[in-house]
């Protein structure tokens, strides 16, 4: 274990190693992709190059994780939480590029830069996972968002993609403004944007009830609420998810959300641990609203991408449950959940990519009719993924383990979140309504005889599907190794006591 001094440029460079590697590599790939005119072949080559870069960055990040660097509190965090969040992001990035390559091929999109845009967005996310200063949080959010705005509108010929992209851009800019305003207010109240300094000054000067501070926290919550699509800030999600190419939708639903959640929990646990009682009810309220509305509206969706969009809103609610108790266990549970959610979401979208017929951007649930008879393995894989999203043991594997982790984290706290746990399981029952509907359509309805034959599933999509489904099943039976890794991934290792034990309401009332 080595402690880095972030004031020394060389050591700062080491601390930012994986991020710089990905950014630099992305620049080179950008030049390469612009070197030749758009073509299907060039697009595929750039995709392979991008995947290789992602794998290299992942390996380096893994090495950092094993090496266990630490650093004194500074503008960026050097801790396990960051490296693990990076790994979740990079796994998502790899899946997204693999799916995007096949999807671009099938839909006739020849823009090689799309893969580089994914890499750039991912480097923004990695910076977001590292940010320990509100300014860097904002910078990283913008870096990530601008690339994703462009990705959302990638399919220039589709009106719905254009609508979704514009909506995403306008609401994204709107939420960035909230975020920035919140940061400004917090700076006004505490005189700093560094998370550790904010926390310190807040507890030293009893700022917990200052209106400036409260407004700052509220604006920040709204900003993050938009980014992770919690109710009532979720309106953009279904349209954007439906309009964007499937691979990009998966990337937005899983990886963008994961990065935003990582920053969310870091800011909340590091900057606002002492005003737990102030924000707790707001986060709990958001969680309850998100779980109920996301899952309830999911029930009436007949478009598979929109269905998964509402499912992802529901999952944002479950993740908020992990934040609500404000414990380190909640942080580990959230990381584990994000990892499993990434697997399930990319698996589901791999099926969508395989099912999308050329020239159509979307898949209706009824198009899966009788899939079991036509493509048995695809149907079984989709069933496993749906059960994983539902959180069903053994058959849904990892999904259940992740949900159990969140439930345990919610109940194992100074203030057990029993109400949130109960809402979580009750909304899970509601979500069974739409996840089961997908399974039902695939297995219990006859195939549609008029449907045109499905094109063969492209190789990288197959690979993504195999990796995610096997991962889900293996983790479902034997989660030990992943758990051990996740349990080490807690933000702010150096001052565990401050976060682990939020003040009880009685104590702060006095």
């Amino acid at each position: 274990m080595e402690t880095l001094d972030l004031k020394v440029p060389l050591q700062l460079t080491i601390a930012l190693g994986p991020d710089l590697l990905l950014m630099g590599g992305a620049m080179i790939l950008l030049l390469w992709s612009a070197w030749r005119p758009d073509s299907a072949k060039h697009q595929r080559a750039v995709a392979i190059g991008s995947i290789v870069l992602t794998i290299i960055t992942g390996t380096v990040t893994w090495w950092y994780l094993i090496k266990g660097y630490t650093a004194a509190p500074g503008p960026i965090a050097v801790d396990n939480f960051r490296w693990m969040a990076d790994l979740v992001i990079l796994i998502g990035t790899g899946f997204a590029i693999a799916l995007a390559r096949d999807d671009n091929d099938r839909q006739g999109i020849g823009v090689a830069e799309s893969h580089v845009l994914i890499l750039l967005a991912s480097s923004g996310m990695m910076l977001l996972a590292a940010a320990r200063d509100l300014m860097i949080v904002f910078l990283a959010v913008e870096l990530m968002s601008v690339a994703v705005y462009a990705l959302a509108g990638l399919n220039r010929r589709s009106i719905r993609a254009a609508e979704g992209a514009l909506k995403y851009f306008l609401l994204g800019a709107f939420s960035s403004a909230f975020l920035l305003y919140g940061i400004a207010l917090i700076y006004g109240a505490t005189g700093s944007t560094n998370l550790a300094l904010v926390a310190e000054r807040m507890s030293a000067t009893a700022l917990g009830t200052s209106p400036l501070m409260l407004a700052g926290i509220a604006f920040l919550l709204v900003g993050f609420g938009f980014k992770v699509a919690t109710v009532p800030f979720h309106m953009w999600a279904p349209d954007v998810y439906d309009g964007a190419p499937s691979a990009i939708t998966a990337y937005m639903a899983a990886t963008v959300k994961a990065a935003a959640f990582v920053a969310f929990i870091r800011v909340w646990l590091e900057a606002f641990p002492d005003v737990y009682t102030v924000w707790h009810s707001a986060v709990a309220g958001l969680a309850i609203a998100t779980m109920i509305v996301g899952n309830a509206i999911g029930l009436v969706q007949r478009n598979l991408k929109r269905l998964l969009a509402y499912s992802s809103i529901g999952h944002a609610g479950y993740l908020l449950v992990a934040i609500a108790p404000a414990t380190l266990r909640g942080g580990s549970a959230m990381l584990f959940y994000l990892f499993v959610y990434t697997l399930s979401t990319f698996g589901a979208f791999a099926v969508i990519v395989a099912m999308t017929r050329p020239g159509r951007g979307t898949v209706m649930v009824d198009e899966l009719s009788g899939l079991w008879a036509v493509r048995p393995w695809l149907a079984v894989a989709m069933a496993v993924i749906m059960l994983s999203l539902l959180g069903f043991p053994i058959f849904g594997g990892a999904g259940f383990v992740a949900k159990w982790y969140v439930l345990q984290a919610a109940l194992q706290a100074r203030m057990p979140q029993t109400a949130l746990a109960v809402v979580l399981v009750l909304t899970t029952v509601v979500s069974a309504g739409y996840y089961l509907y997908v399974i039902l359509v695939m297995f219990m309805r006859p195939p549609n005889p008029d449907a045109a034959a499905l094109p063969a599933t492209p190789p990288l999509t197959r690979l993504v599907l195999a990796v995610t489904v096997i991962g889900i099943l293996v983790i479902g039976v034997y989660p030990n190794w992943f758990q051990r890794v996740a349990s080490k991934g807690v933000p702010r290792r150096e001052s565990i006591s401050a976060i682990g034990m939020p003040p009880t309401p009685a104590a702060s009332a006095r």
Partner: protein, 530 residues
């Protein structure tokens, strides 16, 4: 026999083996040649194409092996020992304190033997009835077997919950793919009802595990024994936790207001699905009450008002099930509703809380498995011939199918509870035992036996005996040898348990007595502490 069993270390590996054999069998079925590779389109009639032999034979042989392995427990089990037998313990998820712990007592023993025997017969019962996608069907049957056995032997609450949910998926597919006309509706309803009931149990289990957590490391503990001995929660918390467990098990039993999934699922399921649902899966609910809900929270379960509500629901279920059965035109639905009535007796016996009534409940659980299972088999056999389950479509067929008629009469008499059959012993014990603590309820419930006679005798009169006035009934072939092979063991069980239930009772007596004593002392202590 015992020397042989101990010489092979039987008790140390039998329970994990019972869980593993069906799963391996399911894998074996998937490896056997599939119709697709042999050039038949999926969904076509695989029996007609001569392709369905592999899966059904593998499933039959695997379950036969499973039954033979399990039957050793009958001798190896020592009724005089008051701890878990055949116990097996292994670390599973150490960070959460989850262990793979299994073991049995007398109750679990009988339930496991019931399960393994019914499953063998179920495969025989689906032999010609399931004609499409036989690979998937028999694999699911095997996985279902593991799931149900897992619930009966689990001694770790995490494992219990996992097994509890695992058996849901195979049954969902079995009903939904191979069921009758309204199969999709029935299977979704079954799945959602059961899952809605059990998810609150998940929260309760996590809560209990955390309450039993190691103070120093904070690692929870889900061991049943440990939680039973150490965890003491406040009366309010106990009430909520009991409520969560109650909901999960009451849906499964099913108790009166939660029973609406049952007629749909039982009627729409294929024959073997109905047999498994009625014969085994319903018992998982009452088993849950005996194993978890009541012993863990005796002070909540035995509170005057809670007990009154549950006993009241049980009696309503007994009468309601019987009365609704009276007016059913569909024979399968009639039998399905009669389950509500029979399981009401089980709940009455458990909550009357005398040794006799609990033993009676256990016997009713076994008897109902045998008799109702046999009834569903017989309905399936006649349905395969005539493709209708409506009582009015038949009439006077005793002359055409004498063998079928004889068996149906014997099984119906056992379901009614005529002395000399198994049904009599169980219900009699329940009524006798509950009369000591709740005379009024017991008298009211006794009337249901009369209703049972009415609905079943009336039904078999209309099916078997009235005038043979429908030409399509004149040429029904009688039971064949395979069907006799299914029915003979069941009839033997009916007569054996009716005449000489002592060996079965002896094996369950210890567990039943311990259950009653434990609950009484703890409930009493809780009242005294208050």
């Amino acid at each position: 026999m015992n020397e042989f069993l101990s010489s092979i270390g039987y008790m140390s590996w039998v329970l994990p083996a019972l869980l593993a054999i069906p799963v391996l069998g399911a894998a074996l079925i998937w490896l056997s040649p599939t119709p697709r590779r042999r050039g038949v389109t999926p969904g076509a009639d695989e029996i007609a194409a001569g392709l369905a032999n592999g899966p059904r034979w593998i499933a039959f042989l695997v379950l036969l092996v499973e039954f033979i392995v399990s039957i050793g427990l009958w001798w190896a089990f020592d009724p005089g020992v008051a701890r878990w037998q055949a116990a097996f313990d292994m670390s599973w998820i150490p960070m959460w304190g989850v262990r793979f712990t299994v073991g049995i007592d007398g109750i679990a023993l009988m339930m496991i033997l019931l399960t393994t025997s019914i499953m063998v017969l179920s495969v025989l019962g689906s032999w010609t009835g399931i004609r499409t996608r036989t690979h998937a069907y028999y694999s699911l049957m095997l996985i279902l077997t593991s799931g149900m056995l897992g619930v009966f032997m689990a001694l770790d609450l995490f494992l219990f919950y996992v097994m509890w949910e695992v058996m849901l998926v195979p049954m969902y597919f079995i009903v939904g793919i191979w069921g009758g006309e309204r199969r999709i509706y029935a299977s979704v309803k079954f799945f959602i009802f059961t899952m809605a009931g059990s998810l609150l149990m998940l929260v309760a289990i996590v809560y209990l595990g955390l309450a039993a957590a190691d103070v120093r490391t904070g690692i929870p503990n889900f061991s049943y024994d440990y939680i039973l001995q150490t965890v003491r929660v406040t009366p309010t918390a106990a009430l909520w936790l009991f409520g969560a467990f109650f909901l999960a098990f009451a849906v499964k039993v099913p108790m009166f207001p939660f029973h609406t999934w049952l007629p749909d699922a039982h009627v729409e399921a294929p024959t073997a699905g109905s047999v498994v649902l009625a014969g085994i899966m319903l018992k998982l609910g009452t088993f849950g009450f005996l194993r978890l809900a009541v012993p863990l929270f005796p002070e909540a379960a035995m509170r005057g008002d809670v007990r009154a509500v549950i006993l009241g629901l049980a009696v309503i279920g007994i009468l309601y099930g019987a009365l609704v059965s009276l007016v059913q035109p569909d024979f399968k639905k009639l039998v399905a509703y009669s389950s509500v009535s029979h399981l009401g007796f089980v709940m009455l016996g458990i909550f009357a809380l005398t040794v006799q009534s609990v033993q009676g409940s256990l016997l009713v659980m076994i008897n109902h498995g045998i008799s109702t299972g046999a009834l569903f088999f017989l309905i399936g056999m006649i349905y395969e011939r005539r493709h209708t389950r409506m009582i009015e479509a038949y009439g006077g067929i005793a002359r055409v199918v004498p063998l079928f008629a004889t068996l149906l009469t014997i099984v119906s008499l056992s379901s009614i509870g005529v002395p000399g059959t198994n049904g009599f012993v169980g219900e009699f014990l329940v009524l006798l035992g509950s009369f000591r603590t709740h005379p009024v309820l017991s008298v009211i419930s006794a009337t249901a036996v009369i209703f049972a006679a009415a609905y079943l005798l009336w039904a078999i009169q209309r099916i078997l005996f009235n005038a043979l006035d429908k030409p399509e009934n004149e040429h029904i072939p009688d039971l064949n040898r395979r069907e006799l092979a299914i029915m003979v063991p069941l009839i033997a069980g009916i007569i054996w348990l009716g005449v000489y239930p002592a060996p079965v009772l002896r094996r369950m007596e210890g567990a039943a007595t311990r259950f009653v004593q434990q609950v009484e002392t703890r409930a009493f202590r809780a009242v005294a502490e208050r």
